[in-house]
């Protein structure tokens, strides 16, 4: 086995994952720290003759992606919270038009322009409620530089499979930090990965094509790219519509389409998490993003001293992996949730699933959580 190593940033690995997963259209607008993804995507895609464009603003960037997605491209953009705010209307548009788009979000300290180069995991609540009407889009959280590669592929697969915008959530400390990565380990990740495309409609079929067709409420409509073949007309709209894509405000079918938008994600989504359980432990750490690494350091130290502790690492923050959280939290007395924001945004999002256990939030602003703080709470819980 080769021992060759490369020094790579999270941004570089996100770009590699995206290219390997088949992304062939990228539009972005410069913003720190997401510019690192933007630059990596532009140089890589343009080098292979695919489309990568610097848009005149974030509104144009994501709108270009939606247009390209309708033409059949696998699309991606990258931004940070100020850009995400501008993209919000278009993300709703992508959701309603069932257009796969990956939004790589590099978090930084907010609100407003905030501080572009300070750590933060503060966009969690915003993302949970980003679609007007109370719908959920998948949010996949990256917990390490190395995992940036395979989680990007998974996020793109989800976007394609479910025909929905997906947020790939990272933060400044992952995308702008570099580490040594084993070339063979990365190759293994690539071999293990599966690459999924959206379900396609046979353009030669005589069946009438409907852009948003489904028989069962949770079925994903088959996709036909605008401009393929001559038999079928493809119409897309962000307004309330029937299965064909015709504007319709109150028809039974239009309301069924709304119900379908919720059901298709809820019923087809597969939760992504890792569980590291230690028998006899009464303390469980629920962690995600870079705080997961702080937790891992703390656990290593605790276990050396024979302190028992388990860890649930969550990758799919939304939809909330309700089953595993409610099942696990009945078996532990103390739940520790570290996150880099002042209120414990994800802890609040899952609190209703935790019945008896005591919840300890560990929070910080503008800086990563020191493993020492988590270790102290593990010790206190005994």
């Amino acid at each position: 086995m080769s021992t060759k190593q490369e020094i790579l940033t999270g941004a570089e690995l996100i770009a590699r994952g995206a290219i390997d997963a088949g992304v062939d259209f990228f539009a972005g607008y410069p913003i720190t720290p997401a510019s690192s993804i933007y630059s990596a995507m532009l140089s890589k895609l343009q080098a292979t003759g695919k489309v990568a464009i610097g848009a005149s603003d974030e509104i144009s960037a994501i709108a270009m992606c939606i247009g390209a997605s309708m033409r059949g491209a696998k699309t991606m953009t990258a931004t940070s919270a100020p850009g995400l705010c501008l993209m919000t209307e278009n993300i709703s548009h992508a959701f309603v038009t069932e257009s796969p788009v990956l939004i790589a979000l590099g978090q930084r300290l907010g609100p407003s322009t905030g501080a572009a180069t300070q750590s933060h995991e503060g966009d969690i609540s915003f993302l949970q409620h980003i679609i007007a009407g109370g719908y959920t889009i998948p949010v996949i959280a990256i917990n390490s530089i190395f995992n940036s590669y395979s989680l990007t592929i998974k996020a793109i697969n989800i976007s394609e499979k479910l025909r929905t915008p997906v947020v790939l959530l990272s933060e400044k400390d992952i995308i702008m930090s570099a580490t040594n990565v084993s070339v063979s380990a990365l190759e293994q990740e690539k071999q293990r990965a599966v690459f999924i495309n959206r379900p396609y409609f046979n353009f030669e079929s005589d069946e009438i094509y409907k852009t948003y067709n489904f028989n069962q409420i949770n079925e994903i409509p088959e996709f036909l790219a605008a401009g393929i073949g001559t038999k079928h007309r493809v119409v897309a709209t962000g307004s309330l519509h029937d299965k064909k894509g015709t504007l319709s405000k109150t028809s039974t079918e239009a309301l069924e389409v709304l119900e379908h938008l919720n059901a298709k994600i809820k019923n087809n989504f597969e939760d992504l998490y890792d569980l590291d359980e230690e028998s006899g432990a009464n303390t469980l750490i629920i962690s995600f993003l870079a705080s997961d690494l702080s937790a891992k350091e703390a656990i290593k130290k605790a276990r050396k001293e024979n302190l028992k502790v388990s860890q649930l690492t969550i990758y799919s923050l939304f939809p909330v992996p309700e089953k595993i959280i409610s099942e696990l939290t009945t078996r532990y007395q103390t739940i520790i949730i570290p996150e880099v924001n002042f209120s414990g945004q994800y802890a609040d999002a899952i609190m209703h699933l935790i019945n008896k256990a005591k919840v300890i939030k560990i929070n910080s602003q503008a800086d990563l959580i020191k493993p020492e703080r988590i270790y102290k709470e593990i010790k206190n819980a005994l």
Partner: protein
Amino acid sequence: MTTVTLDAKDFKSEVHPDWCPGCGDFGVLNCLQRALAELGILQHQVAVISGIGCSSNLPGFINTYGMHTLHGRSLPNAQGFKLAHNDMHVIAVGGDGDGYGIGVGHLVHALRRNIDMSYLVMNNSIYGLTTGQTSPTSGEGMKTKSTPFGNPEAPLNPLTLALGSGASFVARAFSGNPKQAIEIYKAAIQHKGFALVDTFSPCVTFNKVNTAQFYRDNTYDLNAEGHDPSNLMKAMEVASRDTYGDRIATGIFYQSQRPCYEESEKDTLSTPIVDHILGISPERAAELIANFK
């Protein structure tokens, strides 16, 4: 009445600019401070309003009212500010990405609306704060972080855009020619209407093409050559011909006396909104407010 004599250092704030040493924006800041001083405008009579970018940090470094708003959104903020306080000099500032990229929609409408204010664009043909991506005024073929194989897009011409959008004052300066820049800024601030001044303000760190030396070698003063700024067609011709390439015009391209927005809306705007007298007596107003308590 007492007369106050000001000089540029009266417009210096306590914050030292965070720009790279040698940045063209130092020249713009200095010229703006000197222009205000020479016009005898007091610090509290000026609001400097910016977007986001290196140059948009300017309101922090000038001793006037200042607003550092969102990326591309300086003009809507500045126009709102001006309409509520039309007795003040409002100067919007920002970079080419901020004004000609993300904020260009606002610019077009500000030009035709013709509110009495100035807009100084520090044009360096690059995104500096995000470390060097192609901007709307980067030249064709230019290699940047976002165009590693050369920029395939034609650059935007801010001057013809402005002239075609109903501008009443269009000028171009160069931070390396302060004598001319100060005179242009003074004229822009005194102009009754929306005044756009595009200023070459070279980025020493990320743009190795549009350097100070490049502009020293390739610019000429069109007013010194007898250009008539009241002639729109002539302005269009010069702006269109002498913007890119090796003969670049600077100076006042065009100035017209068409009524500004405030003059067309005299009834409501002759008094600043904050000074408007309500159509009811103070006693009656107090009674009404009491009802809501």
